[in-house]
Symmetry: C2
Subunit: 351 residues, 2 copies
């Protein structure tokens, strides 16, 4: 196999035993809702790390709804996954062999080399994390790309101000639950939706949102009118579809919408809201964003989030599944209406 | 009549003859497409102007698509017209009696007292115009609220930069034709749509747009792909509906949409675009606006537009109808798909 090439010449000083790993590749592109047949497992021997490289064994990997878009064919603005190549995504792992003096064995690193048990990569592309401040898996959730997505959407895109009223759809999901909490930290009034009673209880009892409703139960527009009779200032949109329509009705003049995702339509297109004309009279702004444009804002987010998490003022709720074999199913579950996960879905790969 | 009250006590020094006028009032709110029965004519005697007031006879009045929204009932963010009260809109008139020393008889003034032949009003709310720089009616068009709407949409809302590519729907209409020309003045590549061959000829031959197409002829998405293979940077949206959908496909990453109006759906709601999800991956921004928030930008617009118009570099194409009786029909025609007007629709009321 190609993955074995060159191992004899590289890093023999560290190990003369090839490191076994497994990875998940894109087997075919889905039409509509993806199935397990879109994923293929492959085994390989990894080379020892060359100069400047490290060998990392993953402890946790992330599955995220945005990955559905990367499975499609065609022109996109996030690079597409390629058939026959490993999938990618956030992962936290431990360095187990190193030829980068900045990353000694034992260092915990955050990477985009998810969907695999282990990998060899240049050390400079990896971010060191400190598990004395928070559990390592939190760097996939509220302290990682997930938390940054919530942060950027609320404060950079929607310019949420302290004391305003914000509606967050899919509020019990990974990004949604981070957004609910960041907004509460900024003394905002938070309205959140979810699709099960268990999730609503989580929103009310653990995240302390001001008003939570089940989007399957009654009309979102009526819930918003009841929760915010004077209108909402910001809508953090994870769903598009009917909840976006309801939010357009509920937004106060000069309201802003951070367009983070559209889980209502990832597998099957949904009609657009018929009330976009409200954007003119109310001077509304809708703006899409991708978190990778905003990685420079991570330190600002962490400066608030790390002490808050340590002080118990932030909840990093996680749903774990175990082992690489469980990753495709965990991902597929995320995309289902009524996904079972509360908070961040994490695949545990090692200890 | 109420309108006659108090005239004996006010301004008798200027005139002891009551001034006759006619005005158009909202008779009923339309359901769907409005008809002539929504309008009622009333005759009255105007009082002489009191201290600080002027009596103005209108020369021209404007009819604009946005007025359709003001005919609806219910909460809105532009004040609604009231049943039994006169309609409002831009008008240019001449002072014929004055008790405001800043506005001597003969002064030309711009006001919101359209839909009537004459009026009495405080002088401080009126804007003096200079017909030596441009014909008086131009202050209803490219030098007035119409031109400012185009200016604000392009430069303030969509932040159009010199050399970018912009698509303008309803490009042969009043706001659209101003937007096409302002964009060309800024060395932009301009793509415009319209609904008749006569309008396309106007766009091509007089406004010198780079690509004009009939939105009834073929797929707007194909036209945009052909006209701008690398995508458009800005969409100036006067229509919503299918042209907004096509623009979302055509917009390049970080593209912006100025949501000015939605003539495709003013009478009958149109479905929303099913491809709003593109806003996330392409980081698009859609923003609605109302020109009255931006009157402070009028001097900046006039500083560019007045010399350009005087030098023949701007075209202020107008379609005239004569007399107050023709105003409702002219307004209704604007709302029809395939409206007959090219450029600004102006109702001439006097000389």
């Amino acid at each position: 196999m190609k993955e074995q090439g060159g191992q004899g010449a590289r890093g023999g000083m560290l190990s003369c035993m090839a490191t076994q790993s497994r990875e998940i590749r894109l087997a075919r592109r889905p039409q509509g809702e993806p199935g397990l047949d879109c994923f293929a497992f492959a085994e390989m021997d990894l080379p020892d790390p060359g100069p400047g490289e490290v060998l990392v064994r993953n402890l946790y990997m992330s599955v995220d709804p945005y990955m559905r878009g990367r499975m499609n064919e065609g022109k996109s603005y996030v690079p597409q996954f390629e058939i026959g190549k490993p999938l990618e995504g956030s992962a936290v792992g431990r360095v187990i062999a190193s030829q980068d003096e900045k990353l000694p064995v034992g260092t915990l690193v955050l990477s985009m080399y998810g969907w695999r048990e282990a990998y060899v990569a240049p050390g400079f592309g990896l971010r060191v994390i400190d598990s004395s401040l928070a559990p390592a898996s939190a760097y996939l959730g509220i302290l990682g790309v997930t938390g940054l997505t919530a942060w950027v959407g609320l404060f950079t895109i929607a310019k949420l101000k302290d004391g305003e009223t914000v509606f967050i759809s899919a509020g019990a999901g990974a990004v949604g639950s981070a957004a609910c909490q960041f907004a509460k930290m900024h003394r905002c009034r938070v309205i959140a939706s979810a699709g099960s009673e268990e999730k609503l209880a989580f929103l009310r009892n653990e995240l302390k949102v001001d008003y939570a409703f089940n989007y399957r139960d009654g009309d979102a527009r009526e819930h918003l009118a009841k929760a915010a009779p004077d209108g909402i200032h910001v809508y953090f949109d994870n769903t598009q579809g009917p909840q976006l329509e309801a939010a357009l009705y509920a937004l106060a003049p000069y309201g802003r919408v951070a367009m983070c995702g559209g889980i209502a339509g990832y597998n099957v297109p949904v009609p657009g809201p018929p009330n976009l004309i409200q954007m003119v009279g109310k001077r509304l702004r809708l703006e899409g964003f991708i978190v990778s444009d905003h990685f420079k804002e991570l330190p600002a987010m962490l400066a608030e989030a790390v002490p808050a998490l340590a002080a118990g003022k932030l909840v990093n709720r996680e749903t774990f599944v175990n082992g690489l074999d469980a990753a495709p199913g965990a991902f597929l579950d995320l995309l289902r209406s009524g996904a079972g996960n509360i908070g961040k879905m994490v695949v545990k790969l090692g200890d």
